[in-house]
């Protein structure tokens, strides 16, 4: 079995910062990412872009990316980590399956987008903001001709900017939260001027292109035969209930959605790290000490996978974990001080833009909740009424979460649904238990282990 001094899982800003900080101190690093190019979702297309960075964070992240290849870093892209046990990682890539033993591990697995279900959300043409942004940023393509953006949070604006750079026709941007809620959180802005400047860049682009930015509205229905043809927009009250009579049908072939991000915790769960439910960090997160070490010795987690806070936070956290591993503790307090306003800002965004409770009711009983197994909301609500009050129990009784995505998409939706149907705390619904392989791998790859 191959060995390494430090395995970094995820090559986004947090993973890059960790890998390069450790490698510059002479540590032998293996940097692993599932996508064929390093950079994570944040730096998609950044290697060949000519667009100026929108923030210091983007500039710094690109600089890190350009430090690859690095003599002390082995980069394994296109490589899935499908298992983690003690200090051994199970890997799969085009060469097949292999195992890697790492003295220390930093997980920087990032986050994923939350999309709330509503009638028609499984139609082709309905996709996440990230999916549309990747097509535009990395491939210079547009997802469609008449595009609508809906959801909540700053990613709406970031995605709009990427799409407009490819001359997209954006009909409108629908932000579900109300401005009155924004004011209540204004104090967290202090000390986050780089983020504010970034917001200003986005606002300017939207204004220059005369894109309507509609606040307190969302999409409640999508319709079409084989592909999206039209959507229904509605005004929302402050709890998120559509206001009767406010519905408006809009012709569109593309609907991009995102209700903020949630952390990818499958690896830390599989490694049996302790987790806690913290809505200010985006939901379930691994607990960490001041050096970002989890409850498992020599296993660290940084960036969105430990709590949604943006790339600026991930860059600092990656450095802190790598400095702790290389015993350069005297550099850490300064970084921890810089982290504080970012954490405050991240918590503000997570609370402010976490989906309004009544939005779960948009999914009528006929709406599919589990996209893989095609389990409808009605069946799941019935199972909850029949006593299934945890994700595991719902999985047993309805097949939800048993498909290819292994509950990554439906899991967070079920957490909210159980909480609202039983009037209980979301954390009491528990989590799906991830099991290896964390994502499907072909049997043929398992049958012949690769011996380098």
């Amino acid at each position: 079995m191959k060995t390494t001094e430090l395995a970094v899982i995820g090559a986004g800003p947090g993973g890059l910062a960790a890998a390069i900080t450790a490698a510059s101190a002479g540590v032998r690093v293996t940097l692993i990412d599932e996508y064929p190019h390093p950079g994570g979702q944040y730096l998609r297309g950044a290697a060949q872009t000519s667009t100026p960075p929108v923030s210091r964070t983007e500039q710094r992240s690109r600089q890190l990316l350009h430090q690859l290849p690095h003599p002390n870093i082995e980069v394994l892209t296109g490589t899935l980590v499908w298992g983690i046990e003690d200090h051994t990682l199970a890997l799969y890539n085009a060469d097949g399956v292999r195992f890697l033993r790492a003295e220390r591990i930093i997980i920087a697995a990032g986050g994923r987008e939350r999309v709330l279900p509503f009638p028609g959300w499984t139609l082709p043409g309905v996709m996440t903001l990230g999916a549309a942004q990747i097509l535009a940023k990395e491939h210079g393509l547009l997802p469609g001709k008449r595009i609508l953006l809906a959801g909540s949070g700053p990613l709406l604006l970031a995605a709009a900017k990427s799409l407009l750079a490819q001359n997209a026709q954006i009909i409108a941007i629908l932000e579900a939260t109300h401005p009155i809620a924004w004011l209540a959180h204004a104090s967290a802005i202090w000390g986050n001027f780089d983020r504010l400047r970034e917001g200003g860049v986005y606002a300017n682009v939207i204004r220059q292109h005369h894109i309507p930015y509609r606040i307190g509205q969302t999409i409640i229905q999508a319709a079409g035969e084989e592909y999206l043809e039209s959507v229904t927009a509605a005004h929302l009250d402050r709890r998120g209930n559509p206001i009767p009579g406010s519905e408006e049908e809009i012709v569109a072939d593309t609907l991009c959605l995102g209700f903020s991000l949630i952390p990818n915790t499958e690896l830390t769960q599989l490694a049996e790290c302790q987790h806690e439910y913290n809505p200010a960090r985006g939901g379930w997160v691994p607990t960490r000490d001041q050096h970002l070490q989890t409850s498992q010795p020599d296993l660290y987690v940084v960036g969105e996978a430990a709590g949604i806070g943006g790339a600026s936070m991930a860059l600092l956290e990656g450095q802190i974990a790598a400095l702790a591993i290389t015993q350069r503790f005297n550099h850490i307090p300064t970084l921890q001080r810089q982290l504080r306003p970012l954490r405050r800002f991240g918590a503000m965004l997570n609370m402010l833009f976490s989906p309004l409770p009544a939005l779960d009711a948009l999914a009528d009983d006929e709406t599919i909740l589990c996209r893989c197994q095609e389990v409808r909301a009605g069946e799941i609500r019935q199972a909850i009424r029949d006593g299934s009050h945890t994700l595991s129990s719902l999985k047993n009784h309805t097949h939800t979460g048993q498909g290819q995505c292994q509950g990554r998409t439906c899991g967070p939706l079920l957490t909210r649904l159980i909480a609202s149907e039983t009037d209980n705390l979301p954390e009491n619904a528990g989590q799906f238990r991830p099991r290896p392989p964390l994502k499907p791998i072909p049997l043929s790859a398992l049958a012949q282990e690769h011996h380098p």
Binding site: G125, T128, Q133, Y227, R408, T409
Partner: protein, 86 residues
């Protein structure tokens, strides 16, 4: 820009090197990638980053490959199941 020749549902197309299969399909005007087992419902790109497994296609004979996480290579043969159902 370097172009590579691939085959989508039996038709030869030229695509930029380094493009994802999902992007290549969209660029070729194919935006329905498959139909589901249970309800024969159409699916396409959804999350775009390897999480949701909606964008599954057959690549070089191996089924259930994520179009969003696979890059094209010269001579690649892609089949969407949308085509098989026609």
């Amino acid at each position: 820009m370097i172009l590579e020749s691939i085959e989508i549902n039996g038709q030869s197309v030229l695509v930029p090197a380094g493009q994802s299969v999902a992007a290549a399909l969209f660029a070729a005007g194919i935006s329905i990638f498959r139909h589901t087992h249970e309800e024969n419902a159409p699916r396409s790109i959804f999350c775009g980053m390897g999480t949701c497994f909606d964008c599954l296609v057959t690549i070089d004979g191996i089924p259930n490959q994520r179009a969003c996480m696979t890059l094209v290579h010269s001579g690649m043969k892609i089949r969407t199941t949308a085509n098989e159902n026609d």
